[in-house]
Structures are given as structure tokens and as C-alpha cells.
Amino acid sequence: MGILEVKNVNKRFGGLQALGDVNLSVAENTCHAIIGPNGAGKSTLLNCLIGKLIPDTGSVMFDGQSVLGRKPHEINQMGISRVFQTPEIFGDLTVFENVMIPCFAKRDGAFRMHAIESVAAETDIVDQAESMLAEVNMLEKRDIVASSLSRGDKRRLEMAMCLSQTPKLLLLDEPTAGMARADTNNTIELLKQIKARRDITMCIIEHDMHVVFSLADRITVLAQGTPLVEDTPDKIKGHPKVREAYLGEAEV
Amino acid sequence: QEQGFTNAPTGGTVTLGFNVPQTGPYADEGADELRAFELAVEHLNGEGDGGMLSTFSSQALEGSGILGKRVEYVTGDTQTKSDAARASARSMIEKDGVIMISGGSSSGVAVAVQGLCQEAGIIFMAGLTHSNDTTGKDRKANGFRHFFNAYQSAAAMGPVLESLYGNDRKAYHLTADYTWGWTTQESMQAATEALGWETVNNVLTPLASTDFSSYIAPVLQSGADVLFLNHYGGNMVNSLTNAVQFGLKEAQANGKDFQIVVPLYSELMARGAGQNIAGIPGSQNWDWKLENQLGEKYKGTNDFVQAFGEKYGFPPSQAAHTCYVQTLLYADAVQRAGSFNPCAVVEALEGFEFDGLGNGPTLYRAEDHQCFKDVVVVRGKENPENEFDLVEIVEVTPTEAVTYPHDHPMFAGGELGECNPGA
């Protein structure tokens, strides 16, 4: 019984069957990769997990509770955080504030009326945010307005935001796309450390096979909305169907 | 040097405050009032030809200012909003040190400013305000109204309507949905029902309406044969224009010619309605043709028209007239009382009878500070010769017919209170 159980999830957009009978089970404290061709439904699946979309049929259980019918913020409070495919950050706020907000959300829950105390006085949050920024190597950019970051930096920031919540389940939608190779490697290292250190389950979507094979414990290949195969990385590498539908001649 | 009341004038001048709408829909009316105020100040200071000073029965004023002090004035913009009007009035009192405020082009504003003057302890000489409340429910010891009111309009129109349209009529009222509209409608309904007319319906229209077609359209179907437009200003222009568009003026109902009545006329607005007002009856406080057409009784009229016309090139409106007269009446009262003290002025004005200010013999009634005088009933001219000559006088209803007891139910509920001299 995995921490995340997706059963028979279907999602249609008009005439298009974006997800057809998806079943997925992610074991606790593992890293599960979902790969597949463009438009296979990977992001759609994640959207169903965080309440951005509601599946037409099927069930999604996290930690023994259903996430369906809950609001996005409730789902997050259950312990699910997501890094989006196109960076979703607070563009008008500084990098530092961007990281503080999830820290507050973690500590205070979905709403708290702390209107009189000053932000600077919340030392535990400030410390937490600082150490998080240090971890992703962005401490020197802390006072920059997030919207003027370069694209790679925005991604790193978003990752920092999600990590600072110490979620039980971290969903990563192409976290290293657009990142310089060096930073990609750093990110892999970071994620590996976090995985080793913390109580965390990860679900990652990536087209960069280097990342996938460095991190994943198990891989699901999705094609046209249905899981093609699910197996260990080694098995997937050589799988003929996967090669044909997805990898092509790519060396992995 | 006088003391013991708010803004007691020091030095050789005394300052009056003229608070009129300078922006918004009534800006032109306000501008006309301001012209009259300026003219009055000129005359008080002995400049110009003296206007009505020579015809005014009191003769206390001699063109040397008030009590020998030169008259100065400040102006303000009421924006036709109670709040803005009070702000403007307060600045006149607190900053400019005025001893009297006059002006206004709506009853809401007049009542609001009158209340303020009462609290602050200065005199308020109302300008154009027609609602019963100004000298009824909301009357104040420090406030005075020369202009007539809705009740008097109705009382004056009654006999005229009877003679024009007979006793067997069915009336339909469209009424602006606020205090003035209601009091006017109430008064007209009472007056016409006394004639034996029937009231078919009364529909309230939002003040902010610009188009009245949906209110006008059902009128012909309702069985009514007279339409009362209890509207003023822009509302009146539009509702009348709409009514004419819908052919009500040519229509037949119950075998009679359909008629439209506008209880309160305003020359400026009549200009806005253009040809549509031809033949429509209504009431006025005063008209610049009074003396020419009805003779000596209304003396003063021509002197005022002459002075005003010479200076500005066109005849004055009733709003201008009432503002001019109010200024003179105030100055005269101070002169007679020998003091600027508001309480002395109140005493001098209460029960004051005068003549020669264009309305014939007039009484400032002590109980409610309302003037009692003849009321003019007019009708839109069929072929006006120019834009200032839009109405013809149908009749003048004598004072007795428009006088009512001060505790008449339509005016009940108010208290003058004590005169307040302020600090």
C-alpha cells in the first residue's frame, strides 16, 4: 500500500481522453518518475493530484485519505507540494519573501490573522528561509524581485519554495528544464540529499533522462493517457516499446 | 464694535457667503444666482443704479453698505450635494468669517446648510428651495425662506387647473423619488382632489433616471387624462421631452385633450426643454414680465430687470430674483435692528411686512420664517420670440389662497427652536 494511490482515474477534455484508467501506486519514501511523450497526460495527472483538475472518475488517495473534492490549499496542507512546468512564483515579491511564504503556510496553516507582528520578528521563519536559500545557492539574490530572475533561477526558486515546506509528497514537473547543466547536476545532488535525509516521497516528471535515471526508484511510462509500463529504471532503459514511443535513439 | 456672536464683523467691512452650485447639472442656475448676488452687493454698496433699493418699502438701506460697513462676499460650490455644501459653508464660516450665508438650488442642500447655520450661529437666507420641509419639518430659527413652496404651488395651481381643464379629470403622477418630489406630489394630489379630480396612479422615478420612456409609455393606457411631472431640473427636461415624444400633447383620452402639468417651473430648464414646453402650465415664484403685464402691484420688478439686464444682457430668472431679494432683506433687517447679531436680525425679520420687491405685499411669517405672497401661474409660450421669453403669465393667485396655518399637517413636526447667535 503506497502513500499515494491513484485508481482508475479518467479525465476527458471534450473529445480528448487525456487520462484513461490510470492506476499508480507510489511507495513511501521513494522517488517515482513518470515519463512519456509530449501530451501523454503527465501534467494532467499531477493536476488531478493537487486539486487543479477534478478527474471524471476514479479515486486518488494520499496517506489513506481521499484528495478528491478538497481545495488546493487543503491538499497542500495534507503534505503535497508541487513544482510547476512553467514557474509559478510570486513575481512581485522578493526572492526571500517568496521562500518565507511557504514557511508560514507550513507553520500557521491555511489562514492566520497575524496582522500586528512584524515579519522580521519571526526569527524561526527567517532562519528557515535563509537556510533554504543557501541550500539552493540563491542567498545573494534574496532581495531581487522574483520576476526579474532569469528563467533557470525562477525554477530554482520554485523548488526552494516547495522544499521549504518539507512536504510528505513532492511533485516535480520538469524541475530542471531550462537549467544549466551544472545547476541540473546540483539539483540532482540536492534532491538526492533531501531524499536521503528526509522523510519524503517524490514524484517527478522529466524529459531529461539523466535526471530521471539518477533519481528514480521506479518509473511509469505514460502514453496517450494510459500507463504503458511500470518498472525499475534498468528495465525501462531497455524496454523496446519505451524506446520506440519515447526515447528514440537517445543514449541514456 | 459688536461682540457676543459668531463672526461679529470687525473693521470696515462685513462678509456674506454665497453658496451656489457651480459644478454639476445646476451650474447655470447657480451662475444666475451668483449674478444676482453680485448685483445686490453692488447696490448695497451704492454702486450701479440701486435696483430695488428705491422701490423697497422699508427704505432703511441707503446704499452705504450695511450699518455703514462695506459689503464683501465670498463664493462657494455646493455641487448640489449636502456634504459638499456644508463643507463649503463651514469654510465660509470658519475661514472667511461670514455672518450670513445664502444660496442653494435644491431643498436637500438648503436644509443641510440651514441646519449648519443654526448650529454655528449665523443667518441662512435660503435661495431656491421649494420643498415644504425647509420651513416645515426642518425649519430653523436662524433660517429664512423667501421662495414659495410645494404647498403654495399646488394651492395656486388648483384654481387655474380647474378653469383650464374642468372638474372631471383623472391625474397620473410621475414623481422624483426623493423628499422634494414627494412633498410636491402630495400637495398637488391634495389640491387637485379638492377640485374633484381623481388620482389614477403615482409612480416614483429614480433621481438618476435619464430616460423616462418606460414610465411615460403606460400613461395613455391607464385611463388618465392629465400627467403631472413632479420633476425638477434635468429630470423635468427629460421627462417632458419624453412625454411629448410619446405624443401625449396631441393625444386624446376620455374624450378630452390630454394635458401635461409641471408644478414647478424653472426658466433655465424650460430653455432646455425647447419647444416641448409650449402650452404646459406650471407655477413660479416670480417672473420678469410681472410688472409690465400686471401693473404697479408688482413694482420693483422692472427696476431689478433693468439693472440686471443692463449688466448681463438678458433678463433674470426667478432664482436670481429670490437670491437678490434675500440679500436685500437681510441687509435691511440688520439696518433696522441696528445690529449684526443674528438674534436681532431674526427679530427684525419675524413678522416683517414689506412691498416693492417684485412680488407685491409680502409677509415674513414669524412662526415658520416663510414668506407669503402671490404666486404666479405660467404656461409655456407657443411661439417664443427668443430664448428668454419662454413662458406667458396665465394668472396670479393671491396671497390669501396660498396661505396655510403654520401647523398644517404637511408642515408639521418641525420646531424653529431658539435663535442661535453662536459664540
Binding site: 487543479k52 488546493p72 490549499h73 497542500n76 496542507q77 507540494s81 508541487r82 509559478e88 510570486f90 513575481g91 512581485d92 515579491l93 511564504i101 511557504p102 508560514f104 503556510a105 491555511a110 489562514f111 490573522m113 496582522a115 500586528i116 507582528e117 512584524s118 522580521a120 521563519i125 532581495d143 531581487i144 524581485v145 519554495m161 | 457651480q22 459644478t23 447657480g30 451668483l34 462676499y73 465670498v74 463664493t75 462657494g76 460650490d77 450635494k81 449636502s82 456634504d83 456644508r86 463643507a87 463651514r90 469654510s91 470658519e94 475661514k95 435644491s106 436637500g108 436644509v111 443641510a112 449648519l116 426623493y178 423628499t179 422634494w180 416614483l204 429614480p206 433621481l207 420646531e415 427652536g417
Partner: protein, 387 residues
Amino acid sequence: MGIVLFLTLAAPFILNPFPATSGMAQFNAGYPDLMQRFVIFGIFAIGFNILFGLTGYLSFGHAAFLGVGSYSAVWMFKLLGYNIVPGLVLSVIVAGLFSLVIGYISLRRSGIYFSILTLAFAQMSFALAYSVLTPITNGETGLQVYTSDPQYLQSADAPSIPHLFGLEMRATETLRLGGWSFDLNFGYYVCAVVMVLAFYLAIRIFRSPFGMMLRAVKSNQQRMNYTGLNSRPYTLAAFVISGMYAGLAGGLMASMDPLAGAERMQWTASGEVVLMTILGGAGTLIGPVLGAGLIKYFENIFSKINDGVLHQWFAFMPDGIEDLLVGIVHPFVGKGWHLTLGLLFMLVVIFLPGGLVEGGQRIASVFRRDRKAGGAEARAAAKRNVE
């Protein structure tokens, strides 16, 4: 903060820079009514800015709360007596409840749809207050206290105008120093103290985690929800707080001048506070207060300059030139004050995109000659150091 405290306390002197007898006395704004208006609208605008400046939700119906506040205060005067404390308390409470209801419904939508919802509620309140609700609001005339009102708590010796435990709002001490005269008005100082408190509270809110959350709402509401924060209660809280500020302003207005008119709730009044906030600089703390002051200054000072005054000013010129100058200035003052105001709006927004505060900062930075700071960073810094 210190500056604000100083400015408000010294306002009677600062606003009367010209001797009472000079021609320029026309420009003096240091008389009680206008000073009270400055701070009251300042409070209104500060509150509005907590909603608009922080969350970006543009309410076009805030005047409704101001109006409700005024009505509540006057009703307290009518029922209990002229002490302003119960009036102020009730006006804040009623405005808070009213804004809770309207906010709860309107905040289901965002952007322009939200603006129109708030506008619709306010316009409905205005229309009804003007007509159908006349028994409660006294319609066009405005709600006021009559001698026949019960005033259950009014003791015999208490003043029959608004007062604070016996101290009259209208009480004014006039200080004459040479040609100058300064009005020290008790009502003004009551308002000023309230505004300083309101301003201080706003500073705290801006710097608090709550304030940061509100800015996050403005920046990216989606992200906020996916970060586990429920944006609705945050926006609703901001809405109610700003509604209560508006109610407080309304209550103070009634306390300074015990009459509450329905026009206070009209869309133009709501629009006015929007303009004040933008004019001064939305999202800054002091900006809205400056904007409020400027608009009220124009309304009260420029509208009172008539041709007579103009002639007086230019009297020292030769006649021909005098008439010419008067002719040139004439369309912009007196009944033309709207024109000047309109031009001012345009000039400010064209040349000072961040409002008056930005203008002030530019001048300051010219003095400090630090032009190196990157645009974005400077702006961020400005936001943090708002004071």
C-alpha cells in the same frame, strides 16, 4: 511615522502659511473643517489602500461603508446623545458587518468582475438610502439630530453638539501671531489622533506576515493556494479591515458635523477614494493621505476663488494686463476647479507614474544623487521602506 506625527500635529500652522490679511490667504487651508477633512479622508484612503494597495482588489463601492458609518454615528447621536464615543464604536462595527456581507459575496469574483460587484452593492445602497429607506436615512436631506430625538444618555449639562466627554468638537482656540492666525480645533486633534493611530496600525499591517500574504494574493493567487494558503479569508479580512477604516472615517465625519447625506455612498464618492489612492501612490503608506489632501484642497480652496478674488490678486498690474491675467486664470478656478483637477490627474499620472510619493522620491534621489540603483531593486527597496 515620526514625520506623519509631526505633520498632523503641526498642521494648523503648516497649512496657514500666509498672513490672514494678505492676498494669498485664499490659499490657506488651516481652518478646522478642511483640516478635519484632510485627516478623515486620509483615514478612508489608508484603509482603502490596505485592500487595494496590498491585494490589488479594486473596490468601487467603498463609499458605502463610509456612508453606513456616518448613518450609524448619527443614529447614536439621536438615540443616546452627542458623545462621539458610542457613535464611533457603532460606526466601525456596523461598517465591519456590512463589509463582511458584501465582501463575502463580492470576493467570489476577482478583477473587474469584483469591482463591478462592489459598485453594484454600493449603488444599490445609495439608491435605497436616497429613496425607499428614507425613514432610516432621511433621504435627500440627510440624517440629522432633531430636538425631539430621545437622546437617552444625554445629560442636561452636556453640550448639544458632538463632544467627547464634554469637550466640544467645535471648540477652537485661535492663536494670533502678527498677521498670522492659527486655529487650534479640538475636533481636528481628535481626528488627528485617530488618524495617527490608524496610520500606525496600517504600518504594522503592511509589515506583518498578514500584509505579506496580501501582497502574495496580488502577485499570484494560484501559487498561494498551491502553497497551502487559503486566499479567501485573507482577502476577506483585508476587505473588512478596510471597510472598518471607512466606517471609522464616516463616523468621524458625522462627529465633526452631525449630518449624514446619501451622496456619501454614491459611486463618485467611491471613485474619489480610488483617485486619492492612485494619485498619492497605491501600495505606499503615506501616498493615499497625500492624495486625499490634494483632492480635498482643490475642492475646497480652488472652488472658492472667484473673479473678485482674482482681480484683487492682480490689482497691482496695469488694467489691461490685469484683465488678461484674470481672463487666463478664470477658467481654471471657481466654477472651473474641476478642470484644474482633471488636468492635475492627467499630469500626475503621466509624469509621476507612481503617484505623488514617487515624485517625492525622485526629488529626494536627486538630492542623494544615487542613480545607480537598479530600477527593480529600487522599487523593491522603496516598497520595503515605505514610511
